[in-house]
Symmetry: C2
Subunit: 359 residues, 2 copies
């Protein structure tokens, strides 16, 4: 016996009924009845089947539109065993403290939102504890989403490999790492680190502080670019110029302050994100070390703020708009059963006043 009253039967006596949902949700059968056809016909008409005569289809479409009817997506998904939803996950890392509030990440969300909308997908956004990335897999196992885009690789290389091994369709914004089972898409971090460093060297800088944590894969590559350019210029890499901090403005400020206090000489700063660069500039300001006259500063990302900073910040521009498209493209390839090789996107140095040679 049915547990719920049939929609048609007036459910005669129902005193305990909560008067809340008095507006019964329209469904296909209603449209069919009103149009004088069967539900099959309505279904076909709304899906644009060519089996339906043009006039019938248009009549039904018009009826549905005027009644504000939308297909019940749960029923549709259940029947079709698929969805048009992609899960976008931003891991929250307690250690590095960087999370969804970093403008760069949020810009990535915007970029993904555009790419997904463009191709008719819905975006399920969630923050998950990075220690528990399995919940990303759950979105797929439960049929909520057909794939996962993870923004930020962090230290979770192994977990990501496990997810990929379990055949969870997943693409990660980050750097390509040896023995990587999952697909990553990211900027060219080695080149980015190199161009920032070379630019400073070209300006005559010789003691360039590096702000970032080389334990993170992406920062590791940027550091490598930095080291390589210094080596090519015959300059020794000094460990005292490494300000090892996660993506945290607070800690960057503290790190630069420590560096200034320590008396170690430096004439430039290469920070691994614009947020870190902003914090560095602020700390330098406290010490009266004006930018760019006393210290040149280069950031990374080119978030919108960089061009409004005072002085406007020289930085390595990440291809954010393209990132969303590429991530989605790679993911769809995987979902369709194909293989997506890791992709490295070109980055670009944007020179602004924070490294303008003193006149």
């Amino acid at each position: 016996m049915p547990n719920d009253p049939k929609p048609d039967s007036p459910a005669a006596a129902k005193p305990t009924a909560p008067a809340a949902t008095d507006t019964k949700r329209l469904q296909m059968a209603d449209i069919a009845r009103l149009a004088g056809v069967s539900v099959g016909t309505v279904s076909r008409a709304l899906s644009g089947s060519l089996l339906i005569s043009k006039e019938t289809r248009e009549r039904i479409e018009e009826l549905a539109r005027s009644l504000d009817y939308s297909i019940n997506v749960s029923a549709q998904n259940l029947r079709l065993k698929t969805t048009r939803t992609i899960a976008v996950v931003i891991p929250y890392d307690k250690v590095s403290r960087q999370h969804i509030s970093d403008p760069f990440f949020l810009a990535m969300v915007g970029s993904l939102a555009d790419a997904l909308t463009e191709r008719g997908f819905d975006m399920l956004l969630s923050r998950v504890d990075a220690d528990n990335l399995d919940s990303a897999a759950r979105a797929v196992n439960s049929g909520v989403a057909i794939g996962v885009i993870l923004i930020g690789q962090w230290r979770h290389h192994d977990q990501l490999n496990q997810l990929a091994a379990r055949r969870v369709p997943i693409v990660v914004w980050g750097t390509q790492i040896a023995q990587q089972l999952y697909c990553s898409v990211g900027g060219d971090n080695i080149a980015g680190g190199a161009m920032a460093t070379q630019h400073l060297l070209d300006l005559g800088m010789r003691r360039i502080a590096f702000v970032g944590d080389p334990q993170l894969p992406e920062v590791s590559d940027r550091y490598r670019g930095y080291v390589e350019q210094l080596a090519a210029a015959g300059i020794t890499v000094e460990s005292e110029l490494l300000v090892k901090v996660p993506f945290s403005a607070e800690q960057a400020r503290a790190g630069i302050t420590r560096l200034c206090d320590s008396g170690v000489a430096f004439d430039a700063v290469f920070a691994c994100s614009d947020v870190l660069a902003a914090a560095a500039m602020q700390a330098l300001h406290v010490f009266g070390r004006t930018v760019p006259d006393r210290v040149a500063v280069v950031g990374y990302d080119d978030i919108e703020w960089a061009s409004h900073a005072s002085p406007p910040l020289t930085t390595v521009r990440q291809p954010i708009a393209r990132a969303g498209v590429e991530l989605l493209d790679a993911l769809l390839t995987i979902i369709e059963g194909g293989t997506a090789a890791p992709r490295t996107l070109p980055v670009e140095l944007v020179v602004r006043a924070s490294t303008r040679r003193r006149s």
Copy 2:
């Protein structure tokens, strides 16, 4: 007859089968079989029903976990006729040009992500063309989401009223407007405008430029606060000090440049967002009008960047973290059939160096 082969039947000859989905998705019946119980028992066990003996429940939970099984959410939603998904919509307004890339909006997304996660809801994020807010209603009509949170009121008051009239559960981040049928949650914009203005007056400023478009509801309130404080101080509001621009850094820069060029005297700027303030400071810099010595600047929002600006920006802090919680709370009230009155959250002036009185 079934259109798909039964999961059990090996689907004898199927030469055209794409070898893609070879890993059949686990379902409740599989768990039931493996546990030697019925699907009903599994369903009850996984939903924590007290009817099931503790040991049986734990055995089933363990089995499900070890097999990576998750309940099929489409089937569950179809059966229960509800979901735990909330649609978060960021209207994209071609006129004002402000969209998802504004750090403030993105911070709101972060805040909402936190609030939703906290209460066990999923977030469906979408950008929609503001001229077509109906697509927000579609999310609800199609059963994808049980309610909508709209970030940004813009000029869409009428459309929003229509949605509310159609009984779409919706809450909007914005200002309370007369004749409003929908629930809005927002900062106290009149107070915010007033405190910013009063702060500048206290510093001795007399000619305060206002940067923003008073046609937008929230800006309108901030402008009102500005006008009221000026009036209370016996100062005439001069229309030449109104830099009427939408939330666009470009246009703000151009506006301030125009103001400087015009020779109109001013000793302070009150900008309706930190992004606008940043652009203003940059434009002022070009004219050699240093902040705060020659011009004091106050922003709005207190995005993370504001404290890293040089000089750090005095601004009106919006209660972003609380905003997510309040928006969700109001929405859930409405979904449960209740009524949620518009809420106005307190804002707070954060004084930093951009208005520091010259020593």
